[in-house]
Amino acid sequence: MTAWDVLWVALGGGVGSVLRWGVGRAVGERYHGLFPLSTFLINVSGAFAVGYLSVLFYVDWRDRYGAALNVGVVTGVLGGYTTFSTMQLDAVKLAKQRGGVSATSYLLISLVAGQLAAGLGSALARAQG
């Protein structure tokens, strides 16, 4: 990891995090249900984008550095935009309110939707290729 990589990751990670916070606020103002909708939408859209852009940039999912576009956008922005930790906190809160089945369902739905979105994103980029 070069100094440029660190800079791009920091910049991208910061911007992605602000984006996540903004989407979270916008969804939170409109939706007041128990399902953690904002984190769900953030993670699924981020997974779609990572699948799409990885194919577009010709990068393997394990390539985290290299071209500025890859480091800044995929590793930085999308890594910062999506969150695993808030998803787990949501699940713990859901378990307290609604029990373990709801929490487990939320995690599994997030996982499957995220995987489908990532697969769809990469398939779309390949079809356009």
Partner: protein, 127 residues
Amino acid sequence: MLKSVILVLVGGALGAVLREDLILWVPNPADQFPLDILAANLAASLLVGLVTGLCQRMAAPEGVSLFTTTGIAGGLSTFSTFAYGTVMLTLASRMSAVVASVYVLTSLALGYLAVVVGLKLSGQGSS
């Protein structure tokens, strides 16, 4: 508003750089199990539990959780690489598909547990 944006921006930048440092530092097993991403996600989940609990207990100002939970932990953890990585592993070979399944279930179970442990450590676990 501007103060919140700056807190999330700086926290997220710090978290993302921490994630990449951690990923470089954690060894990758020969079977392609993404131990590095798992480590980053678990560290972030533990941090989220700990800080959320402490903030509730001490009635900390919103800025503390914006910087630490939304910023650092959010930047440190990643769902996009987690989801995309498991898809690529599953499609690569039958062996790596098995690794992907183990990785997914371990991540979800241990991540949940990490939040619970973090909350417990903060003294908020029982509430």
